[in-house]
């Protein structure tokens, strides 16, 4: 279980990126963070990944405090970030250097098959399309079997068809080891397709505004009634999150109420 308590981040130049983020994500849950630009979504993921240090507050995974990059936390970045000098197999197995070669190979090939890239293991990253590269990046994150997987808008640069097929590949891999997933997205439909809970954030400084549960059965159908309902609720919350805070007291009330959703 991933627990964030009172997490804040103020950068050295005084920019307050995140204020008082507290939330819990249970084992195997998928949580989506949505919000306008500048609401600190990416900062939050970088804190959990251990790539940045919080100004205050704490992150724990199964009770263990996270102080830097941790073996039980994996991340897929916005860009594939493949190492161009390694083959696809070399990239997927990048985090498995300690395993004996044979087991390593088995896990690499299995992960590649799951993301639909069987037979691509000896290719160079430059030979792959953007969507294929991102699938390699997803395989690279899953292959170490992290307990918490962070996804930072991993599909934002891809077209709608590619994106939909990557959602399927992601859920397929997720179903195997059921890691806790925290994903950042701009795409409300993507959030509803994948997540159990959607947290809407408010920008400058980044705060949590509202949490919306999605209880639809998987695999989710975009045309189902509940899908549309969830979408409207999230869009409504997003609208409010981007409005200036003139009604501060009532907003504050809503803020607190959201924790009880």
């Amino acid at each position: 279980m991933l627990r964030l308590s009172g997490l804040s981040k103020t950068y050295a130049d005084g920019t307050e990126a995140l204020r008082d983020i507290s939330l819990q994500v249970g084992k195997g849950d998928i949580l989506a963070l949505v919000g306008g630009s500048g609401c600190g979504k990416t900062t939050l993921l970088r804190l959990i990944a251990g790539l940045d240090i919080p100004s205050s507050g704490a992150i724990t995974v199964n009770g263990e405090t996270i102080k830097g990059p941790h073996p039980s936390i994996g991340i897929v970045f916005q860009e594939p970030r493949l190492l161009p000098w390694l083959t696809v197999a070399g990239n997927v197995g990048f985090g498995l250097a300690d395993l004996p070669p044979q087991e390593r190979q088995v896990r690499i090939l299995h992960a590649l098959e799951k993301v639909g890239l069987a037979g691509y293991d000896q290719r160079w990253p430059r030979e792959l399309s953007g969507g294929q590269q991102q699938r390699v990046a997803i395989a690279r994150a899953f292959v170490t079997e992290p307990k918490v997987l962070l996804l930072d808008e991993p599909f934002s640069a891809l077209d709608a068809f590619t994106r939909a097929s990557l959602h399927d590949h992601l859920l397929l891999l997720w179903a195997e080891t059921k890691p806790t997933v925290v994903m950042v997205t701009h795409d409300v439909e993507e959030a509803i397709t994948l997540a159990d809970r959607v947290v809407v954030m408010r920008p400058r400084p980044g705060r949590m505004m509202e949490t919306i549960s999605v209880t639809l059965d998987r695999p989710r159908d975009r045309l189902a009634l509940g899908f549309d309902k969830a979408k409207r609720r999230i869009l409504h919350a997003l609208d409010r999150s981007l409005q200036p805070e003139k009604a501060a007291p009532t907003q504050k009330g809503a803020d607190n109420a959201s924790h009880w959703w």
């Binding site: 990048f94 250097a97 037979g119 290719r123 160079w124």
Partner: protein, 283 residues
């Protein structure tokens, strides 16, 4: 299991973007153009030869290719050419090895550590602006007129491009790739070995190539300062004895040696850079 296996096999066999086939296709045009570079010098040589044979030009100071060829042949037959080539190559290699070694080490330090960069980079940039010939008198005073001062001069020439290339490449490593290493908790040494070294490899090889090129320039300066063998000596000797054919013969030998040395460097480094997403035909 068998089901997924056959599925993947099928996918593999029908994939139209098989890199092996595209690679074969891509190498064909570059191979047929490989000889194109020789056309221009060949044409000029034939024209000049024809101009002299037909009496249009005298060719006393600019001898025709046939005379230069004959000179080269004579030099080779007497073993002189080999002697001079070996002397020059030996100096270039020794100077290149020294300059590349120090250029890489100091460049790596300056690229990786801000303190080192702030301390030494301004001085090195100032020294870089000094013309090579300016070092000659000093080096002769310090190290005498024999091999040491020559190798030192060449090493100085090789050092700067290698230093600049390596320092710049290390400074320019993509932070995003470093973060990938951090996420997988690479220690300092593993980060250097698995991320930083491969990332700077292409720039390092280019730096070595320009260093080698400068090495060949500096060897002439070095051999001008008094040598009894070497292609530079052959140049000076040709001037003093009034033998333009000998001068041109050693110039041509320089061109061939330099190109060959660069070719060897490219060939050795090629398998290391297969992954690069560049127009490799241009290299």
């Amino acid at each position: 299991m068998t089901d997924t296996m056959s599925h993947s096999d099928l996918r593999h066999s029908v994939d139209p973007r098989d890199p092996r086939s595209s690679r074969v296709k891509g190498s064909n045009p570059s191979r047929s153009f490989a000889l194109a570079g020789i056309l221009l010098p060949l044409l000029l040589a034939i024209l000049w030869e024809a101009a002299i044979r037909s009496g249009l030009a005298v060719g006393r100071l600019m001898p025709p290719p046939s005379t230069i060829g004959a000179t080269l042949w004579e030099l080779a037959k007497s073993g002189e050419l080999q002697l001079h080539c070996l002397a020059t190559l030996g100096r270039v290699l020794a100077g290149f090895a020294l300059g590349a070694l120090f250029g890489t080490m100091i460049g790596a330090a300056a690229g990786a550590l801000v303190v080192v960069r702030r301390l030494i980079d301004p001085t090195l940039q100032a020294l870089r602006a000094v013309p090579s010939i300016a070092w000659v008198p000093l080096f002769i005073l310090w190290m005498g007129i024999f091999e040491t001062s020559k190798v030192a001069l060449i090493a100085v020439g090789v050092f700067f491009p290698v230093y600049l290339g390596v320092a710049g490449a290390i400074e320019g490593i993509d932070r995003k790739l470093i973060e990938v290493g951090q996420v997988f908790r690479l220690n300092r040494w593993a980060m250097i070995r698995r991320v930083m070294l491969p990332a700077v490899l292409p720039a390092w090889i280019i730096a070595l190539r320009s260093g080698l090129g400068l090495g060949f320039m500096f060897v002439v300066a070095a051999e001008f300062m008094g040598a009894s063998e070497g292609l530079g000596f052959l140049l000076v000797d040709g001037q003093q004895m009034g033998k333009p054919a000998q001068i041109l013969a050693s110039i041509i030998t320089f061109a061939v040696l330099g190109k060959l040395a660069d070719g060897v460097l490219v060939m050795v480094s090629k398998p290391l850079l297969l992954w690069q997403d560049t127009a490799r035909g241009a290299l």
